[in-house]
Symmetry: C2
Subunit: 360 residues, 2 copies
């Protein structure tokens, strides 16, 4: 460290915010990316960025899928902002790499040489790319690269498990908040063996949430999917005990059609005591609310959720439901998700299919 | 009723949706406003509309405050859509009136002649205005008018209390979801006598929520306000027992400054076990999250809340907090709020000041 440090270390990374003053790193326009670490920081040598899906889609569309332009755009964002935060979507992604140096006051439990994934967003992580993204074809969210990133005192990172390939582990960790919060809510539900509905159950966060609901003591688990293909995938998926399915009932409905989705869930054993929204399309609030029993809980994990649509929608139908903003952080979330992937072949199969679809 | 009814009654009002088919009344472009009621409906003779503040502000600005143009705009919206839903803000408001006719299957417990306020949004309520808004000066959200409105089987309405003037009762009912949910969350908090922070405590929903928190057994109540004037109002407000203040600590901070607001709350006895956000400006998510203890709860009542800012903000600082979308409906909410106004002179004083400020 040098004598030019502008501020004492803050566990939130406030000392790395250059502009505007006083905001959190996520809201910052530009971060200080100096490689020297403060005593509670950790520096990571980059292996791969995993761009947020919404961010990559925006870049892809804005540049007509031209790999050179997309590469240039990402490099420009990182150079200008000191972090990979898409200025249009506001979102970032996550990264994998190897710990280069851990400060003496870091409480993250990491050591030089550890292979890790960061579980805080790239939208607040100081980042420098040194290879011009020469190894990235610009065609998917998975961005192999060289350079470094900085973790703050109050960041979150998880060691990559040895028994899972990096792409699979990264995909699991990307959505690990959903099963963790689902597990907590189902465990604490007022009713014994609650009915759980998962909207978007054949996806990554949805299938993991279904497995977490089972582990937490759910009674009937109802999986909602948009069409026959996904219904077939889900119907074939078996739980880790070899007896149950990953879900008990599979129903096909458009999540944006409130009456359709709530009727489908009602006919499959609903209304649900706990409804989990895992589909990333706007307009799913009403259906989730209507599908949930009075006194029940809706967990919104979709980043396409509208706060006002949820608040006014529940009031509009006199629904006494608890509505949770899906917090991506629950203590132990990465470990819970990794354990589910290890023990639940049904979920693992869905993940392998999904990650293969998007592999290069 | 006539033989031309297009559909059987739905408690959600689906039979009144003309366009597009299949959506809930709130999402509808146009509602059927026929005065004949279905068996579970209630028809209300209008006395006054209370336009949503955001909606009135938009109309006022779009028409340069010209009363004739604002009146014409409201009439046009109601004529075109069959409901008072501002197409820009999406919001509605509420109304007061007198029950004209209650269908034999209605479960709302209303009878002809009852003076009531509706607690569902005007954005989903079939509405006809018959006096051309001749009595409205176009200068405030309070719109005296003649005409009628329809309540569905699953709507919510409350009888107006005889001992409160209509303007005050309406203002109380407009925000009654906030104290009801605050009461529930504080009652069920994991810690005994939890620390409660109210951001925007000198406002209508904030002051009622502070009183509800006290009634629910809060320990220290910290009120956050933006400047000295509001601090003085809040510091003078006494609780109904004549001993406590409405809040225990008053702090001045900008709710949009995460570090400022969380430091202020920490220095006044925080972090909070329960944080209630009652200020209608964007960007308050980070401060509320940082001000809340691990394992605590944030309740967002502001319609300016960003879902993604809340979800990513909590993850970004590894905050294990439960984040609730402020549902405007909790059973018994109107009665709880009216009771607080009756027994808490401190809150009543704040309401009278606020409603006087906006009176015609």
């Amino acid at each position: 460290m040098t004598g030019s440090q502008p501020a004492p270390a803050s566990p939130l990374g406030l000392h790395r915010v250059l502009d505007p003053a006083g905001v959190l790193p996520q809201a910052a326009g530009r971060l200080d990316t100096r490689p020297e670490i403060w005593p509670d920081e950790v520096r990571i040598g980059l292996e791969r960025l995993n761009l947020d899906a919404a961010s990559f889609r925006q870049l892809h569309e804005a540049h007509d899928g031209d790999p050179d332009k997309i590469r240039a755009a990402v490099l420009d964002i990182v150079r200008t902002r000191g972090k990979m935060q898409n200025p249009v979507t506001g979102s970032g992604g996550m990264l994998t790499g190897t710990v280069e140096e851990a400060g003496p006051d870091s409480s993250l439990g990491l050591h030089a040489g550890d292979k890790i994934a960061t579980l805080v967003s790239l939208s607040l992580t100081p980042l420098v790319i040194t290879d011009g993204l020469a190894r990235w074809d610009g065609k998917s969210e998975q961005v192999p690269c060289s350079g470094y990133a900085i973790l703050f005192g109050r960041s979150i990172a998880a060691r990559l498990p040895d028994d899972l390939v990096a792409g699979l582990a990264l995909a699991v960790m990307d959505v690990c908040g959903a099963p963790a919060l689902t597990h907590r809510v189902v465990s604490h539900a007022a009713s014994h063996a609650p009915v759980v509905a998962i909207i978007g159950a054949a996806g990554k966060s949805g299938s993991l949430s279904a497995a977490a609901a089972r582990a937490a003591g759910a009674g009937t688990i109802i999986g909602v999917v948009p069409h026959e293909d996904e219904a077939a995938i889900l119907a074939d998926a078996v739980a880790g005990d070899g007896v149950h399915g990953l879900v008990d009932e599979v129903v096909i409905a458009d999540a944006r059609d409130p009456v359709g989705v709530s009727s489908a869930i009602a006919s499959a054993g609903g209304p649900a005591d706990v409804t989990v929204v895992c589909v990333d399309v706007p307009g799913c609030e009403g259906g989730a609310i209507l599908a949930t029993a009075q006194g029940g809980t809706v967990i919104f994990f979709s980043m396409a959720t509208s706060f006002t649509a949820a608040a006014l929608g529940a009031e509009g139908v006199a629904a006494d439901v608890t509505m949770l903003v899906g917090n991506g952080y629950v203590p132990g979330h990465a470990q819970l998700a990794i354990d589910l992937i290890r023990t639940q072949p049904g979920v693992r199969g869905i993940f392998q299919r999904r990650t293969d679809e998007h592999s290069e």
